[in-house]
């Protein structure tokens, strides 16, 4: 086989997914995102583990031409979360109810007040906007990646993210 042909085949062959590296860089973000959707900690644990298990099982079907590994992983996590929500027939628990924060000190500070305000503002958002906020702030996805995750265009995703951001800023003010 000639070198040219080998190089051509190497270029056309989709890159393999480095699952370990993806896991190391994204596991905390996946958990944060999942918990923001499903609410309680126990369910978030299960769904996070399930999401990584699904991703591991489907790692050979990953196609780099259809998106980044991170977007692919968060799509799986989002589907797992929504499936869990459907199964449990309940709406997502407000992000502010996650309850993972340490107890606030007795003496309230300005930072604590701001944190409470932000938590309340996030909790007041509709679930779809909370989903977008989580994808943007916790998953760190670009608008294009969010669009691919939600099955919408990048422009549409940008519009929705901007709207959710505006709602959040308004709720915080």
């Amino acid at each position: 086989m000639s070198e040219t042909l080998s190089a051509t085949m190497a270029r056309t062959r989709p890159p393999t997914l480095e699952f370990d590296a993806l896991y190391r860089t994204a596991c905390a973000d996946v958990y944060a995102y999942v918990r923001s959707l499903v609410g309680d900690a126990a369910t978030a644990d299960d769904v996070t583990a399930q999401a990584f298990e699904r991703a591991y099982r489907k790692r050979r079907s990953f196609d780099a031409r259809r998106g980044t590994p991170r977007q692919w992983l968060f799509t799986i996590a989002r589907n797992a979360s929504l499936d869990e929500l459907r199964r449990r027939k309940r709406a997502a628990t407000p992000l502010a109810d996650a309850g993972v924060k340490v107890a606030a000190p007795a003496a309230s500070t300005e930072a604590d007040d701001r944190a409470d305000a932000v938590r309340a503002a996030i909790a007041s958002l509709p679930p779809r906007e909370r989903d977008l906020i989580a994808l943007k702030f916790y998953a760190g996805l670009s608008n294009a990646e969010i669009g691919a995750t939600l099955g919408i265009s990048e422009t549409n995703a940008g519009t929705r993210v901007h709207r959710a951001l505006s709602s959040l800023r308004e709720a915080c003010s």
Binding site: C27, A32, E53, V100
Partner: protein
């Protein structure tokens, strides 16, 4: 199919101010300095609200990832165990399916190819005598050359002719000497009566039943004309068409089969005329010697008639009512035996006088070489056969696709509907 809910502006380009704000957001998320300090602070505050991953979960996931998810809970362990085979099984299944499909295709091509080829162009003539045929194939009583097997009553008659008695009658009317004389006298009479169809062993004439199988390749488009000539040839040969079936295909191709009955005396002429219809690709002629069957039947008929004559004499001399009644019964039985033997002889006679010809006419398509060649299988024939086979296979594939396409479309539509419904159901979980 994707729902563009709450996004009337989805098709329009974003406002530059929106784009700028989104750029600022992305920069703040990356930890870069932005001019909108409020946005930067909001990003920091929201990120600070991110739920932290429990250490136990992280430890467990680290182990799972390192080990390839052998655990994943109780159910997960099972899933993990099944997983390699579950992911490989479809591939193996597809391999097996592909192999079976390939084998089936090859078999189809071979079958179609063999069915398409018009014989092997061999010209064989075989002639089998009665002993070989009797050993090689099951045959009727008259073919078996067994004098006793043709008629259940024959042993009785044979015995009665030797014993001078046709049964156990106590009349004793017919003396052996009388029966012998009667037999001799009636033998010649029977021979005279059945003269056209009999050939006694004394005459030395052979009785041969013949049958011929022929395959003739006619030129493309000439099947109709050839089929019409078959009837004329048969009539000229003193026979008739017992059965015929003509099948026309496209581009002048077609096939026809005939069952002909011709006079044996004109068989050679008939075969010659049929051969002129095209190229004889196969001819199989069989001859069965039934002389012994014929002679045996004649012999038994003569004996039966002699017995009848003796019985009639005995009837003339009988004086008691019981003897007369017994003799009449035996005469009636004898009459049935004679009628059966005469019918058997006529049947044998017909079999020797008429010959059955199984004729097969084949006309290739217009693209294939005509039948006017030298009978050898050439490269051209091979190419023609290959083209015909490919054409047939292509036709079969087209039919298969036509049959399967609606199912595939329905399946694809159903799968699409399932995906859309699942997506909507997932999106609906956030409402």
């Amino acid at each position: 199919m994707i729902r563009s809910d709450q996004t009337p502006e989805s098709g329009a380009p974003l406002d530059p101010k929106v784009i700028a704000e989104l750029d600022q957001l992305d920069a703040a998320l990356r930890g870069e300095a932005v001019t909108d300090e409020a946005l930067a602070q909001l990003v920091r505050d929201v990120q600070a609200q991110a739920p932290e991953m429990p250490t136990a979960l992280r430890t467990q996931l680290n182990e799972d990832v390192a080990a390839g998810f052998p655990r994943f809970g109780k159910a997960g362990a099972d899933r993990a165990e099944r997983r390699p085979t579950a992911t490989k099984a479809p591939r193996v299944g597809w391999r097996v399916f592909g192999g079976m499909a390939a084998v089936a295709t090859v078999c189809c091509v071979m079958v179609v190819g063999l069915a398409t080829m018009d014989g092997d162009d061999s010209y064989t003539t075989s002639s089998e005598s009665l002993p070989e045929l009797a050993a090689a194939r099951p045959s009727g009583p008259s073919d078996s050359a067994s004098p006793q097997s043709a008629d259940p009553a024959a042993p009785d008659l044979e015995r009665s002719s030797r014993d001078g008695s046709t049964g156990s009658g106590s009349s004793g009317a017919a003396a052996p000497s009388e029966l012998d004389q009667a037999s001799g006298a009636l033998d010649s009479a029977t021979t005279q009566k059945l003269k056209p169809s009999t050939a006694t062993p004394a005459s030395g004439r052979r009785r041969v039943e013949q049958s011929v199988e022929m395959s003739v390749r006619v030129k493309s488009g000439g099947l109709d004309e050839a089929a019409g000539k078959v009837g004329d040839i048969t009539r000229r040969a003193g026979g008739f068409v017992a059965d015929s079936e003509v099948s026309m295909r496209t581009r002048g191709a077609g096939s026809a089969t005939f069952t002909l009955q011709v006079a044996s005396s004109k068989l050679d002429a008939a075969i010659g005329s049929l051969s002129d219809l095209g190229t004889v690709t196969r001819q199989d002629q069989q001859s069965v010697d039934i002389t012994s069957s014929f002679d045996t039947a004649n012999q038994r008929l003569g004996d039966a008639k002699a017995v009848r004559k003796a019985l009639l004499r005995s009837l003339d001399k009988a004086d008691s009512a019981g003897a007369i009644a017994a003799l009449r019964t035996r005469i009636a039985d004898n009459r049935k035996t004679i009628a059966g033997l005469e019918s058997e002889i006529l049947q044998l006679d017909r079999r020797t006088n008429l010959t059955t010809i199984g004729l097969s006419l084949n006309a290739p398509s217009g693209d294939a070489p005509s039948g006017d060649d030298d009978g050898r299988w050439t490269i051209g024939d091979a190419l023609g056969d290959a083209g015909s086979v490919l054409g047939t296979v292509g036709g079969v594939l087209i039919v298969a696709i036509a049959v399967l396409l609606p199912f595939a479309l329905i399946g694809g539509l159903g799968w699409s509907v399932y995906l859309v419904r699942r997506k909507r159901a997932r999106d609906g979980a956030l409402d």
